[in-house]
């Protein structure tokens, strides 16, 4: 199972920080790497990101221009809400620590917990 590569992450950073759709040549220039990776390498990885659904693209003249399919915050929110959402039937990809509770139940548990802690502290 290949993990997200370092170059993929760098390309996403470049595309996220750009204010408009950019070409592969722009991405390569903005990567800020010495030496800069080969154009074909950047093109291949950018296409992989497009195929994975991270980048959208549109043809401008002879070259494609790319922009992010979702903002950084979108992905962050997705990582959190999917973990918190108990209604969603997820395919056991993750096992979450807890689900949301209703206020009355939380208050009841809080009381039981305090009683138990008191009993523990009190010398027998």
């Amino acid at each position: 199972m290949p993990r997200f590569g370092e170059l993929e992450a760098s390309i996403m950073e470049v595309v996220w920080s750009a204010d408009k759709a950019i070409t592969v040549r722009d991405i390569r220039d903005r990567l800020g790497r010495e030496p800069a990776p080969a154009y074909n390498t950047v093109l291949t990885v950018t296409e992989i990101l497009h195929r994975k659904g991270w980048l959208a693209r549109e043809k401008h003249g002879r070259a494609f221009r790319y922009w992010p399919a979702g903002s950084r915050d979108d992905y962050t929110a997705q990582l959190v809400t999917e973990a918190l959402d108990s209604a969603q039937d997820r395919a056991a990809a993750l096992v979450r620590f807890m689900e949301k509770m209703e206020p009355g139940e939380m208050a009841e548990i809080r009381r039981a917990l305090e009683t138990a802690r008191d009993a523990e502290r009190r010398p027998r």
Binding site: M1, R3, F4, E8, A9, M12, K52, W54, R72, Y75, T76, A77, Q78, L79, V80, T81, A83, L84, S86, A87, R90, A91, A92, A93, L94, V95, R96, F97, M98, E99, K100, M101, E102, P103, G104, E105, M106, E108, I109, R110, A112, L113, A116, R117, E120
Partner: protein
Amino acid sequence: MIVTLFLLGHALLLATAGTAALRRAGWPTRAPRLAIAAWLALSASIVGSVILAGLTATTAATRAGSVPGRCYGPMRWPCAPDTFSGAAALAATGAVAALAVAARVVGCLCAAYRTAARERRLLLDALALVGRTDARLGVTVVDHAAPAAYCVPGRHGRIVVTSGALAALDDARLAAVLAHERAHMRQLHHLALTSARGLARAFGPLPAFTTAQDQIAFLAELAADDAAAKRSGRLTVAEALLALAEAAPADAMAAGGTATGARARRLITGSRPLGRTRILLGLTAAAAVLTAPPAAAEPALSATVVACCGSSHTTATQPGHVLRGARTRRPDYSAADEPATPLPRKPDLRSTTSRYRPATNGLIIPTSPKRQFRLSK
């Protein structure tokens, strides 16, 4: 046929009374890992019984319907020609049912594992981009106000904690949460969960499998809670649960008691773990439930294999027991078992020679050629 009915009855009993009894039993919360094994054994036993029922129906019908000349199976089924069409239909039905159930199970299990792997990959990709690794804690932190902690299981698995969760937990409670998540990974709960999910999808409306799925999900949480309680103390785990729940937006839909609430109450009250003897007893029972169907079906299935493979009698009697000595004069054919063409009888030769060369006179073919060579010298 009796075996087929037994297997179907076994499956039906487990799917109804067995499922209800296991769900209502009190011990699973005291031994959650054993209970997970019990639910998996129950599910596997139901599926196995149905598949084997189909196979035994086929073999029984094949024996019953086979042409008279080949009708010398140990069951001595009548070979009346008019039973043929019914037997053939039964054989076909059994085979198709067994094959269909087996294919559905394998297909749905594979689909469930593929889906889980794909979702894990997507999560890991997103985490690699927007999460940051906290080397000290050994977790991936996602900057988000909502408190959440979870693990992405598997080979490249990792524990994910939001910055909101880190803010809501002190060091002791955070340690409890991490111990809980590590227990999920160590005990491979995702494998049990994904299998249960695949089976539930395979037999959609059957409550036995959906119940198993729900129960295993809950029991996995209990098992992880127990591991965390052993390390951090049960009240600390309960406090961590409550701290995260209170920091999260309340859910009005979750009225009437949540699984998380049940877990917290169990941690606060404290549950006496099941004794070693009872655990062993439970494991034995689970193993028995699991092995009963194949054990019941094996004689019927192997008998048919022998009957269908022609030279049934030489394979049925063990050569070793013929070779053992003079006491065994010839393989024990009963008169009824005599094949159409009788084997050559050489009683005189055998009775005289057997005293000195007790093994054989070439009538019986020993299993290994090397041995045959040595014995005939």
